[in-house]
Amino acid sequence: MAKQAPFLLLLLMVVSGQGLLAADLQALPEFLRSDPFGTIVAPDRSSVDLASSLYDAQHRVMLTGCRGGYVSFQMVVKLPSPGLYTLDVTIPDPANKVQIDLFREWFHFTDSDQHYYPDALIPVRATYNSRLPEPDNRIPLQTAQAFWVDVYIAPDAHPGTRSGSATLKAGAKIITLQIQFTVLASVIPTEDVVTIDHNSYGSSWLAQQFAASYQRDPDHWFESNQFFGLIHAYHRVFYEHRGIFHQLGYGHSGKVGPEFAPALEGSGRAKHIISWSLYDRHYGSLFDGTAFSAGRRGQRPIPFVYLPINPEWPGSYEFWGEAGYEAEFVNVVSEMERHFREKGWTHTNFEVFFNHKKRYKGFPWDGDEVRFPKDLKYFLEYGRLLKKALPPDTPVHFVFRADVSWDMEQQFRILEGVVKLWCAGGDILSFYRDAPKMLRNRDDVIWYYGGPPSVTDSSSAITEFPLRAWLWGVNGYVHWLTISPGEDPWFHFNGGQTALVYSGERFGLTEPIPSIRLKIQRNCLQDLALLDSLKGRKPLDSLRAEAARSYNNSTLDDWWNPRPALADLPSDQWLGSAIEDAASHTQHALRHPAASAWYNVHQYALTLQAEDK
């Protein structure tokens, strides 16, 4: 009992955020988010017993990680009254194979519940000087500032334990926390078992979020090096967090942004490409991987990209169904294939993807989420045109993608051999337990889609999507929108269900900055890669079952819904509310994962690593 007393006291202080008589420095696991007053935010509070999980009996911070990845935790500086402070976090490693990235956590005021949540992460030096209240965050009674600490372990770091420290200086007070950092011999696989995609639309949002940069030269900004550099920076921030980034380059009526397509000239059989200039500036370094050469994960071509192909490009829709449409489509797509081949861009999947919906009045069929089976004839026709445009032995990977929901079961059957990349609505895919295996057996790729959780959900909520993808046996998951944090994310936040990164411009940066949710997602992906790498030693279903049990005490069956009666009706007779009812089993079983949910899976993964040695 005497041994537990300090922990109980610590626990009490964490929960209440009270009793602060002097400056204090506290280490917290990544899953417990502090508010600006030192209290754990409400959605994470049920897991507050994790607060002591980082400390050993000597009150040292104990951290363990595998090579080729990150270990994350948080430091919270607490001051009883306004004043200056310095925080220094260090884990010396002579070989520089263990590196620290320190981020100040921005506290967003969310209008929905009138509370503060940390999410945006502002990169700062490992020795950080500031004051409380933090001037730019403008929280009058702020008494606590949280920091996110990423410790990167290079794949070739020597296993063993390193000592470090975190030191807070505030006035005459100096507080030091000793850190023991253990590097395991295991190396996190470079390849992820699930692809996590971060989607976006167009590029006009970049001018809004980097308004100062844009305003310096609004007439030429969209052709400037700053603009393309910014796009590449978005790719980088997701790539460095084990994700990929998509930007759709056309609108629902077929308007193509100039940087997303080669410039065309002519009509009918005379239509051809006249310039690759903007396209190559946009994509060249992404397709050969050099855009990533300075990062820790190394140079690598992006694995997927949207093509600008839509019903209005490259074929003019006014010729639809006529010889001219076929000539325009086939000739231009053939030119594209040749250009990609000559450039050696053979490691990226070039997606032919139709995003339009008839409700947006551009075209008379749904390209996205087909509801009416009669629309499938358009897919078959584009499959024919694409086949005609491409040499049968092309090394360039053109892939026909379809985002499916209502009618997915029919589409899997009717479009077999035409569509090779499926992006399926999660609720409806949950009715079809055999679908992932069936699709993968025929070398199709299957992702599912949804959106990021709000910051007002528990910290582990973001991990449900990659975990579900892995448990289901699908190839990936798509966050449908990840770059749109709303009009004022800093002081009137909408919760962030369409954003996992933020503009860094407010902080003098010319690139996006990550979020806590993105960091937790990355760490989750590391753990999944580790777990999956053990499938040679343990049956995959056993690994999955134990991960699900650790996560929220669920079984693998809880992650699927029984096939409902409506699945046997034509999809145009379904109602949205009936789908919700049919998906209620998983929604109920998996609702509100606790903040500790992923902590438990992580511990399971680490235990298996230890057993493996």
Binding site: F222, K255, G257, Y317, W320, R359, K361, L575, G576
Partner: protein
């Protein structure tokens, strides 16, 4: 004189290449005139009977449907007859070629049984409209639309700065006005707008 001509030509080309259209009021007048021509021709060649076949009965029945558990009920049930749609869309696309600058010709149709409401039925490739709020299935009819429908006259609208629309009636074989075309352009085209 040749030198002066070459300088003027060079400067003009530079402006054109830089994509900085500084149009004079005369240019705006020219645009209005051209769009009016497009609308005038469109009013004759767009087939109102075919337009009336575009939006399906099912889509009409769900257009105003609400379900607190299903916010997308109307949109998810929006459907069109693709043959009729394509026929009219091709006509609208060709009409837009009559102008010497990027322009769209959109089709708007009043909603039977819902006076004061109108829906955009067909948009085109430049994604321009002075009246459509992005994403809406239907909206309130602006007074200029009511005027064009009632008087069967073309109406030029420049309510939004930099935008020019000419509205013109579309007739069916009975002589009824069943819709409007909107011939539309902008003084300065935003190539990134609505790429989403």
């Amino acid at each position: 004189m040749k030198i002066v001509y070459l300088i003027v030509l060079t400067v003009s080309l530079m402006f054109a290449m830089l994509g900085v259209p500084k149009l004079s009021p005369d240019a705006s007048v020219d645009m209005k005139r051209e769009l009016d021509d497009v609308a005038r021709v469109g009013s004759v060649v767009v087939d109102g009977d075919v337009c009336q076949k575009i939006v399906t009965q099912r889509a009409k029945e769900f257009l105003f449907a609400k379900d607190p558990r299903d916010e997308f009920l109307a949109g998810d049930n929006y459907d069109v007859d693709d043959v009729a749609f394509n026929t009219v869309k091709k006509t609208l696309a060709r009409l837009s070629h009559l102008s010497s600058f990027p322009a769209d010709v959109n089709l708007w149709m009043p909603i039977e049984g819902h006076p004061g409401k109108i829906q955009l039925v067909i948009r085109n490739k430049n994604e321009m409209s002075q009246f459509w709020n992005w994403g809406e299935l239907y909206g309130d009819m602006v007074p200029q639309m009511e005027t064009a429908l009632k008087t069967e006259q073309r109406v030029t609208v420049t309510s939004k700065p930099g935008w020019i629309s000419v509205l013109a009636p579309v007739h069916n074989s009975l002589g009824d006005v069943v819709g409007l075309i909107e011939a539309v352009s902008r003084i300065k085209v935003d190539v990134h707008e609505n790429v989403k």
